[in-house]
Amino acid sequence: MAIVELREIAMARSGDKGDGTNIGVTARSHALYEFLADKLTAAVVKEQFKEICKGDITRHELPKLRSLNFLLENSLAGGGTETLIMDAQGKAHGPGLLHMKIDVPDNLLP
């Protein structure tokens, strides 16, 4: 096992959906997708985003795209047109999640 940042094993893109955001996370291999589908739960992401996301987080699976889609409710302090926060569209939520430390079996590392 090795502790790596999530970006070593996945990619991410985020954007706004009203007052919420979505983060699409794409694993770097099908084996890593299976690993992340098991480990990167909505609860884990909620723990990461507890200071940013004030609502629920739900997760959807897209195995053919090696991807997980996280929906973060109430994560933009009022939403794109209303808030004063710098990241009003949540563009940094994906890159931010990729800094998460995660313990990965050696045989799965790219």
Partner: protein, 456 residues
């Protein structure tokens, strides 16, 4: 009309303000049959509505009209058709402006089609009386709370009326708030003769639209592995090579920068995605979990297998409304103790506003210290002793004159506050109106679109 065996659709503008270089390059540097332009975001309609209130001839994407004079001569020569949701809240005004622009560039024999009926602002009271509730899709709140403050109300219409304009011979189709994927789906229905109840194909065209609607976000822009992306300055805008069976290839012109691989396209498939098995469009529901994706040579990604279902009986409506005002001031603050200084400055400004008789309640105060890892709050360690930060101090309120006092009292802290505060430039900040966003639904039977095709 003989059916083509492949249609090339390119998106030249991903948003209002996208690179003005893209359209000309797309039509000059490779094969394109249809050029689409996506101009409208929620806030855009409200801005356009305000422009139209000041001048009834305005209220559309003026950039688009300027572009038409430049690109239509080449499009006409090559037989490239143009579809754009550039009409904003005034497609007719947009048509007249295009007509004038084409006359100036000496282009003749072009037909322009407009699609109207998405703007329901004038009919809102009647629709509510008829039983439309327009409850907020996110909060469930009642429309009565904001009805007197609504500044724009537009229905996301589908591909149908655009297909009709193409059938009537339009070379340029301008719509109001057509949904982004529908401007890509429409030419496929028209050229391939797709039935609009063949939902797998509707979903395929919708997903093509979703992939290219943000321009180069599928060709290597905004991509995690950006260091692998060559020549981003020269990035190619996306081109779809669509097949009659609904399968397609995402590519870009030879000689352009950027990168198209499974990962760059997947990133865009996920962009602003909600529930993946039920992506709602006016034309269908699309299932993103059905997508089969494969590399098909350098900078080519092939997609097939898309499944779709029937559209919902409602259209989405996007309304905007006046929701008070906000002001934002910024100053650079240097260390040591930059964070502590910022809190002192914030406190000074609100105390001085009090001396003017203006009390800003705690919940209407805003302070963000950029440089303390505030965008990554909780995701990375916070930065306790940065040498420099950008203080973003603001407030919310109904009365812009009161908020403007913050704009007047921010600069004086340079001479009366802690040392090492700098970066005051550009004059006093002023309050701006907050555009509230109100998403809702409307019964499809209550929406009546119309199509007009005229010689330019």
């Amino acid at each position: 009309m003989t059916q083509k065996d492949k249609i090339y659709i390119a998106n030249a503008q991903g948003f209002w303000g996208d690179s003005p270089l893209a359209p000309m390059r797309l039509i000059n540097e490779g094969k394109v049959d249809y050029l689409t332009f996506d101009y409208l975001a929620e806030i855009t309609m409200s801005i356009m509505q305000k422009q139209r209130m000041k001048n009834p001839d305005l209220g559309y994407a003026t950039d688009f009209v300027k572009l038409m004079g430049k690109i239509v001569p080449t499009c006409k020569e090559k037989g490239i058709k143009i579809i754009a949701n550039a009409g904003g809240v005034n497609p007719k005004g947009c048509l007249e402006a295009i007509r004038a622009a084409l006359k100036d560039s000496g282009v003749e024999g072009v037909k322009i089609g407009i699609v109207e009926g998405d703007d329901i602002l004038p009919d809102l009271s009647d629709l509510i009386a008829k039983g439309e509730e327009f409850a907020n899709l996110e909060s469930g709140d009642k429309i009565a709370n904001i009805q007197d403050k609504i500044t724009s109300a537009n229905v996301y219409i589908g591909a149908g009326p655009i297909v009709e304009a193409l059938k009537q011979g339009a070379d340029i189709v301008v719509t109001g708030r057509a949904s982004d994927p529908s401007v890509v789906l429409a030419p496929l229905i028209y050229e391939f003769g797709w039935s609009m109840d063949d939902y797998d194909k509707m979903a395929a065209g919708t997903i093509m639209g979703h992939i290219i609607e943000c321009g180069p976000q599928c060709t290597g822009g905004n991509f995690t592995d950006w260091k692998q992306v060559p020549d981003m300055a020269n990035i190619g805008y996306p081109v779809i090579e669509a097949n009659p069976d609904g399968s397609f290839v995402v590519t870009k012109h030879e000689g352009t920068g950027g990168l198209i691989n499974i990962d760059t396209v997947t990133a865009q498939l996920l962009y602003e995605l909600g529930e993946p098995t039920r992506y709602l469009s006016p034309d269908c529901t699309a299932d993103f979990t059905s997508i089969e994706i494969a590399q098909d040579g350098e900078n080519r990604v092939a997609i097939s297998g898309i499944k779709g279902g029937e559209a919902t009986p409602t259209y989405k409506v996007s309304m905007s409304y006046a929701k008070g005002h906000k002001i934002l001031t910024t100053l650079a603050i240097t260390g040591p103790d930059a964070i502590e200084k910022a809190h002192v400055v914030s406190d000074m400004v609100f105390k001085r506003m009090s001396m003017h008789g203006i009390e800003i309640p705690e919940e209407d105060r805003f302070l963000e210290l950029f440089g303390t890892n505030v965008l990554y709050k909780g995701l990375v360690d916070s930065n306790e002793q940065p040498h420099e930060i950008l203080m973003r101090l603001g407030a919310f309120g109904d009365d812009p004159r009161k908020l403007n006092v913050m704009g007047a009292e921010i600069a004086p802290v340079l001479t009366s506050g802690p040392p090492g505060i700098t970066g005051f430039a550009g004059g006093r900040a002023r309050a701006t109106e907050i555009v509230g966003y109100w998403p809702a639904l409307i019964d499809k039977n209550n929406v009546h679109t119309s199509v007009t095709v005229e010689d330019a």
